[in-house]
Symmetry: C2
Subunit: 479 residues, 2 copies
Amino acid sequence: MPPLSTDDINPTFHTVQYAVRGELAIKAEALRDELKRPDHGLPFDKVISSNIGNPQQKGLDQPPITFTRQVAALMEWPELATLAPGVFPEDVVERVRELREEIGSIGAYSHSQGVPFIRKSVAKFIEARDGYPADPDHIFLTGGASAGVSLLISMLISSPTSGILIPIPQYPLYTATLAQHKGHAIPYHLDETRSWSTPVASIEEAIVDAKKDGIVPKGLVVINPGNPTGALLDEETQEEIVKLCEKNNIVLLADEVYQDNLHLRNTHPFTSFKKIVSARKSTVPLVSFHSISKGVSGECGRRGGYFELTNFSPELIALLYKMVSVNLCPPLSGQIGVDTMVRPPAPGSASHPQWKKETETVHSALASRTSIMASRLNALPGVSVVASPGALYLYPRIHLSYAAIKAAEEAGKAPDAFYALALLDQTGICVVPGSGFGQKEGEWHYRLTCLCPGVDEYVGKLEKFHLDWVKKYGMAEKQ
Amino acid sequence: MPPLSTDDINPTFHTVQYAVRGELAIKAEALRDELKRPDHGLPFDKVISSNIGNPQQKGLDQPPITFTRQVAALMEWPELATLAPGVFPEDVVERVRELREEIGSIGAYSHSQGVPFIRKSVAKFIEARDGYPADPDHIFLTGGASAGVSLLISMLISSPTSGILIPIPQYPLYTATLAQHKGHAIPYHLDETRSWSTPVASIEEAIVDAKKDGIVPKGLVVINPGNPTGALLDEETQEEIVKLCEKNNIVLLADEVYQDNLHLRNTHPFTSFKKIVSARKSTVPLVSFHSISKGVSGECGRRGGYFELTNFSPELIALLYKMVSVNLCPPLSGQIGVDTMVRPPAPGSASHPQWKKETETVHSALASRTSIMASRLNALPGVSVVASPGALYLYPRIHLSYAAIKAAEEAGKAPDAFYALALLDQTGICVVPGSGFGQKEGEWHYRLTCLCPGVDEYVGKLEKFHLDWVKKYGMAEKQ
């Protein structure tokens, strides 16, 4: 009998692409294994995974927020409160008592939509942030934001002509999920020359073009702050986007997982789309996503997040509930993580001073690294990068010479992938080529995270690599 | 603008059904809320969720395995080892040291396929169980078995004519997942008159019938021990099943999550399909699923499990890896849970005596409850139940009178749902009607878990309810 052939499976398994963990990341893993051999002969002694926003990974080692971990540890083994008296701060003990009263054991399945008590805490967090009411029954806790995005996109793909508007550059979860559910990605371009702003006219054009091709735009993805761009929307643009959704009967999918990652001093604050929609009393169906993987908590491994539905009918919410119930419930460790994110230690509580110190350290380290990296990358010949105020990334544009492009062609690689592979081979730094996020024809970028602790040594490697590259392939001709 | 209509969404959101958390479970939640009111006027003082195998839930409160939770707590907050010296047994401290060396922080994303070190432990567990080699690269850690089942079923649905063979009765995850991915469920019937055995001839018939209808059987689901039936396959039947897959070029999906839940003394041991396939040197592609949610650990809330691929090409494994990478990684708390399940404390270690006592208690409590429940239910007029050796459930058949069936029709309910709703209303016990799992035309069943601690009081309620029912609707006429 022949084994199962790759032709005999769901065709979406071939069309899905996810560059963040693609060719470069797989090669980085292999190099990491190679480094374990004493005679490896590689020109570096460690691999730095700048391909993924994973602050607590080995080598980056951003410390977790102590309060979060104390609550988690005590939830795992509540007897510790008596076995190790005085080790846990009072407010941690109290938080765990409260959570256990609601949840019981974290080894039990919870409500499929997430623990009701934690959803209430999320609702209060949203109310305090926006000044408008939030309903715990309209909130779904999820195993990271990705799980929610996948669910909502699958809901909106109602027919083979359904499409979702996606920013370019985008986080490739969106195109991957659309490929999985056989929906069309309808690209609209962000404007690099205006600090990666979102030109609403470009969304309108994309809608018109899609309709010409017989594609029906069902949803609009906005990532704010942007990934990979780090751009932060202003309220005026947000209003225009909501109006556009109203006019075109489009569901707004607001990826707001970086809402707590703002690191430039003179930036306006983050405004949620929930606030804009509420203030306008708009009827636009809105889904807003949040996560514990980013922000200051960086708790990627717990798999925790939530989405809030606005202007969704009870029937739709019931259908979503049914769909999530098939997978029983999001991981309790992630749900507990959401609770500590939306309800950090209050001022005056035992844990507050340490929490404050830890979060400030994370914020300021990210701010300083981002600023140093942006200015030094910008100083390189043939590199330009927008120093955006948000998220965890930079998305430098690299201007490549014809010689470099030709060499890439000969190697059978896209020019930016060719650049990124050379960077990995020579420095051990793993980034993601711009082709994974999308870019204009003939432009080349890469995304790297701003998480590496030894920023000076790290940027030094990037600089040396790039200067050697320019020496080898020459400067880009005028374009 | 009109809000998003329920007609304007993915049609699979309407076709998916998942009775385990369906109408009955939703009503049970509502009743639980009602009980909080002092003047509730309900004829019971607690709701007992026998609809779902969730051993640690409130009210059932099966205690977790201490070793598992100690490891988890120390992984969350490693400083505890020095802050609370002597509180953690030596082998726990050593296990955490070992895991942390491999993983680093559990707040980081891991390898998308699961921590390589934990996959190695799983491979050793499989080798020790079966006596045949297992490859860590062919093992995927997952967020519970459900996540893996969903992934593999979506892989096999290659066209609108693809189908998967499903036992009837089945665990409704299978039909729900098939509905989600627009695949056909091809039912084959288990034989209740022969203790829910699996007649291979009935699978063959189902294949022939499917092909007549233009459906291509791509996979065969076998649940062993069975859910909801609890039946345990013998090796002869397993061999026949493998031969049938060979002959028909079908992928075997072995749901083996209850492999550690065997509670009748004179039963033969569990044999994995991996062992049968390996012994035969068969080329049948096999996926076998396991989970930390069942067995003695009952750690449902952690969301941990794995699947092992046998006879899958490296290309297929790479495609599966790409698909799971879009969702980044399974929750670390679940991965750690898999590690402690497949590597329990060794004899002679500090934690072994307690671990042994705790697991034996869980096993014997389940055995005694299952036996008491089966014999008392069998003593009721119009009830018959197979006292199966495995899993956590009983699946009694209820013989209903015409009067009862007519009353159900008038209420617009299936007769078994009507029975289950009455049971919930009168006793607070929530079970799942047989229609959620599948049954022969004109037969009625329900599934209930054998997890309730106060078995005497619990079965007493079931008995009283049933006898009142018979008084009201009469005995079933001869069928």
